[in-house]
């Protein structure tokens, strides 16, 4: 297996991030001034395809249509309101400093660069922090019912990893409300005829003409028909790849297909090994389990995390006196306590269960206890803050968290890696832009809580509407019709692939192969990784891929709604992607953020980053099936926030 490593070519070509120079705080303003403008009358001459209608996609489609571009939006669900952004619970960060507690754009920028463990691009992060304040204005104007103080002004709370209160929220349903805001803006444009919305469509292939992204092949999931869509630019807003682990907090439809298909056409995939394991999820209860449910980490504001002091203590929580409890986060990290960032909290939970101190039936859980908060503030106060989360927990587990502590365990939640993009959000394929979770860069190796919603909306409402002009006005784009041979060829590729899957008629379900893939990824490419495990993961994923293409069973045909076929197509892409993820983890010989290599840790078990050799983003270039990809490096420079060892002690 070591051949994998040596076979991987180190790319020499330079990745141009197109980051502007000058003082950090002026870069975005200066860049926008330097970008070309397209006058309003000319915008309607340009067409844009937006794939995905979550926070990033809906906000981009709505805004581009408001500006006058002709927009076609592809939505994998029956309605854009179903996108998985809807499930985000906790909140959205913004540097408003309403609480007057010392927050600023600079501090949000600083916290995000540091929180990302110095693997994010400074210029991008600063832009994100600047933009954050306008997102709140926009959403409030749309009617997003943010939480309010009694005086009628917006309320804030502190959220995982932050020492200031900069998180805006709408009960435990912030993602839902922000998505419904973006959805309403999108539907307004649909009603006005400026956006053509195509629900129940899946992007199957990217179409390129003369090296530029000029359209997509989509499949109508109800009729099975393949459709050709041509445009002057393509935006991928298709979310993350957490479902490569099978069990994750992602919705069932979340997949890597759109970005992976684009990768196979030439878009570099950056930092695929940077995945976020969220510390507070409901533990796995059995083999039947289809997904994991997140409990918002806002719960860590009031809940205390603990395990029994001694191994194998099977007593119920109430029977274990305080002296025999180990509030390990408070012990190990006295200054941040239960509010340490997600990667640290997750790894610490694993450390406890690895030592045999886990709780519950399976021993794969730790307690999150509200006893003290309820004694301090009263049950009604806790109910007001977290009522819907407590209710959700009780529904799933059958236990009442007002009486007994919650049992929680880490689960895959978010993926920081994604298609490589420059400062304009353009991938290595000209005309192909990538927004939201689908791209990489802003969160580095670890995302802070309440920053995903911020980034998705920043990209869609404020970044792409400016930067897309660099492509549309900056390149001479010939008219392209769907009669172009490139469309026929791409359509043929898409058709052939699904037809091949249907023709196998083997004996294994795609679901069982997906589950097996997930187990390999969770065990070897999960919270802690090491060389041997990663090498074995690569070998086993390859075998499993061969098993899929020889032995998968997909009944029915491709001419109507066939959810098993849809899933099988996505599993096929995860089986290719999973190998790249393990390879990236293998080649990144350091520990940073969500990427923890057991070989690279301090004597007390903390991550050891290697800035000398790995202060870069790794971007992989596809070179064909069975051929090792080329690994390109984009060096990261830190002008303002000097790399230091993250310490939450």
């Amino acid at each position: 297996m070591s051949t994998t490593t040596t076979q991987t070519l180190q790319g020499s070509s330079k990745l141009d991030s197109k980051c502007p120079g000058g003082p950090m705080a002026e870069r975005w303003t200066r860049h926008r001034f330097d970008l070309k403008l397209i006058n309003p009358a000319n915008r309607r001459k340009f067409s844009v395809i937006v794939v995905g209608t979550g926070l990033a996609g809906s906000s981009a489609a709505a805004t581009l249509a408001e500006m006058g571009y002709r927009v076609t939006a592809l939505c994998i669900h029956d309605s854009p309101r179903r996108a998985h952004s809807i499930a985000a619970q906790g909140g959205i960060n913004a540097a408003k400093n309403y609480p007057n507690d010392g927050d600023s754009v600079h501090r949000l920028f600083y916290d995000t660069v540091k929180g990302g463990d110095f693997r994010a691009r400074e210029s991008n992060v600063h832009r994100l922090a600047e933009t954050s304040v306008r997102i709140i204005d926009q959403c409030a104007a749309q009617g997003v019912p943010f939480a309010r103080e009694y005086g009628g002004l917006l309320a804030n709370r502190s959220f995982g990893g932050a020492q200031v209160s900069r998180t805006f929220y709408a009960r435990g349903q912030t993602g839902q409300q922000l998505l419904l805001g973006a959805y309403s803006a999108l539907m307004r444009q649909v009603g006005a005829g400026r956006v053509k919305l195509l629900p129940r469509r899946e992007m199957m292939e990217l179409v390129m003409v003369d090296g530029i992204a000029r359209g997509v092949i989509a499949r109508n999931l109800v009729t099975g028909e393949y459709e050709r869509h041509a445009a002057d630019a393509v935006l991928l807003c298709t979310g993350g790849y957490g479902n490569v682990f099978y069990l994750s907090t992602n919705a069932k439809a979340c997949n890597v297909t759109a970005t992976w298909r684009a990768h196979r056409r030439g878009a570099y995939f950056a930092n695929p090994c940077f995945t976020q394991i969220h510390p507070t999820c409901i533990p796995v209860s059995g083999d039947h389990q289809a997904k994991l449910t997140l409990m918002s980490e806002s719960l860590r504001n009031d809940g205390r995390v603990w395990v029994p002091r001694s191994k194998g203590d099977r007593r119920s929580a109430a029977e274990i006196p305080d002296g025999e409890r180990d509030y390990y986060l408070e012990r190990k990290y006295p200054s941040f306590g239960n509010l340490v960032p997600r990667d640290v909290a997750s790894r610490s939970a694993k450390e406890q269960t690895d030592q045999g101190k886990g709780v519950g039936e399976t021993g794969m859980a730790v307690f999150l206890d509200f006893r003290d908060a309820i004694m301090r503030e009263g049950e009604s106060s806790i109910r007001a803050k977290y009522g819907n989360l407590f209710q959700m927990y009780e529904r799933i587990t059958g236990e009442n968290p007002y009486r007994v502590p919650m049992r929680i365990f880490p689960a895959v939640h978010y993926t920081m890696g994604g298609l490589w993009v420059d400062y304009n959000l353009e991938s290595t394929i000209p005309g192909l832009f990538v927004l939201g979770e689908a791209n990489f860069s802003d969160h580095g190796a670890n995302r802070l809580g309440a920053s995903a919603l911020m980034q998705g909306l920043a990209d869609g409402y404020f970044v792409i509407p400016s930067t897309i002009a660099a492509h549309l006005a900056g390149r001479k784009l010939e008219g392209v019709s769907t009669e172009h041979p490139a469309f026929a060829a791409a359509e043929q590729d898409a058709r052939a692939r699904l037809d091949r899957i249907l023709s196998i008629k083997g004996s294994r379900t795609a679901a069982s192969i997906h589950r097996e893939l997930g187990l390999i990824m969770w065990n070897e490419v999960g919270m802690a990784r090491h060389r041997k495990g990663l090498e074995s993961a690569i070998a086993r994923v390859r075998e499993l891929r061969a098993e899929f293409w020889n032995n998968v069973q997909v009944p029915g045909d491709s001419k109507d709604l066939n959810q098993v076929l849809e899933h099988a197509g996505r599993v096929a892409d995860f089986l290719e992607f999973g190998e790249l993820m393990a390879l990236d983890a293998l080649l990144r010989e350091e520990s940073c953020g969500g990427h923890f290599r057991e070989e690279h840790q301090t004597p007390d078990g903390e991550a050891r980053r290697d800035d000398e050799n790995f202060c870069h983003a790794a971007a992989f270039e596809w070179r064909g099936e069975g051929v090792a990809p080329v690994r390109h490096a984009e060096p990261l420079t830190f002008e303002i926030v000097k790399p230091s060892t993250r310490s939450y002690k």
């Binding site: 309101r81 009617g143 943010f146 419904l180 803006a185 109800v222 919705a251 509407p465």
Partner: protein, 267 residues
Amino acid sequence: MSASSNGSKMKINLRVWRQKSRGEPGRLENHVLNDVSPDMSFLEMLDVLNNRLVAQGKEAIAFDHDCREGICGSCSLVIDGKAHGPNLETTTCQLHMRSYHDGASITVEPFRANAFPVVKDLVVDRSAFDRIIAAGGYISVNTGSAPEANSTPVPKPDADLAMDHAACIGCGACVAACPNASAMLFVSAKISHLALLPQGAPEREARVLAMVDAMDREGFGNCTNHYECGAACPKGIPVESIARMNRQFLTASLRSRPSSSKQEDGA
């Protein structure tokens, strides 16, 4: 409601609606599952059944689902005659098998309404809801034109009440539960959410007229005060919102002047 203890397996007799496509007749199909865990969700039980069918080379039962945590509004089953099944304020994906007893017989059908045609098996087309929102379920504010957020204070009780209505997940259970297949709870929830906020005030009358008009065009029935919608709603949207909508609709209808179309087009 009998909660079986951990570890024990239950036998469940399922009758599931199968329908190849919109134009074709459907029928109920019987399946027996012998190894249902009480900790399974209802949809996980269907997953298990589907895996069994697929392994036998048979087509899986199509059903809409996605987040599996009660917020996306995709899941949509009528279980033993009740939209989203027996539990109060619980979507199908959040319904767990511990709510059933060993040996239970359960009938599973799609949401039924003229405005929600069946696509296949248990999947229905709810795009009528999107068209109603496109007709007016928004506040017209282009990106970039918003004032500073705290320049518009909202009394906390109003914000909280708006949030109660904004919590709608657009699943359509209200329509499925209503004897008239009325969408008035869905529509009034959006109208209430936006009308309760000062940001939504300028378009209040135009919005209610446009949305009610769109609702009627989609073929939804009228409200005759059964309030089955409220009982079925997984998010507990208050049925008072229907009265609010009717009041607003009346006022707006009396005041609307068809010729006042001098307004700019709403980009």
